[in-house]
Symmetry: C2
Subunit: 338 residues, 2 copies
DNA sequence: GTGAAAGCGCTAACAA
DNA sequence: TTGTTAGCGCTTTCAC
């Protein structure tokens, strides 16, 4: 049951192994009748082509690599789920490649790993896709790839939401509640997305005639602890903010904890909002107003596009830069119990 | 740089390809001098054996599969991190295999996938490893495997903490705070670990002469929402508990949210504790008292053991059942600001 | 201790 | 539309 090979299928279907190969790879020039015969033979024998043999002969590995650097578990899980859906649909497998984006040797190491594992395609998440040396190495290797970000190299696919617009919407929600002194905890400086979000914040503020007080903007790193630090800084100012916008949910949760420790009531004493619609945003108290981005959908599309290039499928008409919609999620951290 | 093959290394080292193969696989019967020559040639050429070719010729895939069913992202990320460490150390790769543990066709599908991908080894997490039909299929295939659980089949490796003892410790902490009416939100009925935790709770209660009121035990499913439901049930009793123990942190966080909504002050009005030391337990307010289990260490060890079997390395002396230590993490949800 | 030969199961290039 | 012949890069015999 375990050792069914292409010859077995060929014998049972009464054709040559090459024909079986054609059918298994959806190649043209096979009559419908033959194709059906082969397919049923394969099904009856429970035949699955050996990945190793395919890889060796065809110099394709049927592996898509996921390159990431210590993202939040929730983000990682969602990305993986989306990628796996697309991979499974096309009989590709997913290979994980954690790395450290600040390591100067990383691009070379990734390049070597690409060569060894013969990865057919690559999906790259922030902040790794914001490392120029890495992107250059990937481009040079000529591997089809996608980034979950708004900017890919010349040959790459970019899948993203409009982070600036999303943060603008979120900021306008807060402004609409009547706040004028709004604190901002920025995201990791190595993430381009963090800069986009900050842009969105500043754009919305300016659009509403609100000055951006440098004392109201603090540096964060997308992690919970930096959210705590940022909130402590903001709230210790002589003229503290009445609302805090964090560039992601983890930091917003950190800010929330600090606020609770200080005995502040959310949202009456202080409004706090996040970004990402992570599970955490729903699990803290009160639940956080945030922005949802369809990470799993984006990841699925990224993998599907890469696989389409691999299989030579007709490129969809849409541009290589795919923008997904975002959505405001209004919750009690800004609205109260209304 | 990309197309270095074994012949190149052999030529440079002045030996046959078989000798290179011997060196690359740490086989015996190679003189020190030859070994060194081959190794430096390989290093200079930046040679990496092709996984496909290795797999085809040796009928090994150098792939370890991870079989899981919708665990919490934090758990999944930690397991993956541990596995990847062990895999990278031995030049194995990790293949992800999400599945649905209640799907009756799942064991057969997994078996087929095992055959296709020629996975060399398998790591199985709860609750998948608690599905008898699956475990039977895996045993039948004869693939080396490990479960992150306390019970493996005859040929398997089990890596776990003593969940019963851990929950006993946690319960005793709560009892030690003076509570006698303690609510319990049980874990998913398909998880053996959930039953172990419940045992631990009951053992501790009995040991301290406390009756287990059936009205104080509610069914949960390890997810946030079931924690909310459970807490609502418990707190709506005519004689509600003064402390709630949840079988994991996600459910404890749900209970916490319900308590906040009811205006209860934690821990003075109600003590809430969880289990797992997930990031969430630190990110809610107040932070949750919980039990830490070294998931990444356990996963690393599981993979290392499986790989050791694969490479025929001497089996460590320790038994196949490996128990890791757990640790109580006392935080404000039971202690207050002391 | 080392090497030559023979595949592993597939796909690529060419024939038929 | 289908089949034949060579490999892909490595490991496995089995020889020396």
């Amino acid at each position: 049951m375990s050792k069914v090979i292409i010859d077995d299928v060929a014998a049972r279907a009464g054709v040559s192994i090459k024909t079986v190969s054609r059918v298994m790879n959806n190649e043209p020039n096979v009559s419908e009748r033959t194709r059906d015969r082969v397919l049923s033979a394969a099904r009856e024998l429970n035949y699955r082509p050996s990945l190793s043999a395919r890889g060796l002969a065809g110099s394709r590995s049927y592996l898509i690599g996921l390159l990431y650097d210590n993202p939040s578990p929730a983000y990682l899980a969602e990305v993986q789920a989306g990628l796996l859906e697309a991979c499974e649909a096309s009989h590709y497998s997913l290979a994980l490649h954690p790395c450290h984006h600040e390591d100067p040797g990383m691009p070379a190491a990734v390049s070597a790993a690409l060569a060894q594992a013969r990865l057919d395609g690559l999906i790259i998440t922030p902040p790794v896709c914001n490392v120029p040396a890495l992107m250059a190495a990937v481009e040079e290797r000529g591997v089809p790839y996608a980034v979950i970000s708004d900017e890919a190299g010349p040959s790459g696919i970019a899948v993203t939401i409009d982070e600036s617009a999303a943060m603008r919407d979120l900021t306008e929600h807060v402004i609409g509640l009547g706040h004028t002194r709004i604190g901002f905890i920025a995201g990791h400086p190595d993430h381009k997305g963090a800069a986009r979000r900050r842009d969105g914040f500043e754009t919305a503020m300016k659009a509403h005639g609100l000055a951006i007080d440098p004392a109201m903007v603090v540096q964060g790193y997308f992690d919970f602890e930096s959210g705590r630090h940022g909130a402590r800084d903001l709230l210790s100012r002589t003229n503290p903010p009445s609302a805090i916008i964090a560039a992601n949910d983890d930091m917003a949760a950190g800010a929330l904890q600090v606020a609770h420790d200080k005995g502040l009531h959310i949202p009456t004493d202080l409004v706090i909002v996040g970004f990402d619609d992570s599970p955490l945003s729903r699990q803290v108290w009160p639940p956080l107003t945030t922005v949802r981005q369809p990470v799993a959908d984006m990841a699925r599309e990224a993998a599907a596009r890469v696989i389409a290039r691999l299989t030579g499928a007709a490129e969809p008409d849409n541009p290589a830069n795919l923008a997904f919609p975002h959505e405001l999620r209004l919750r009690q951290s800004s609205l109260g119990d209304t």
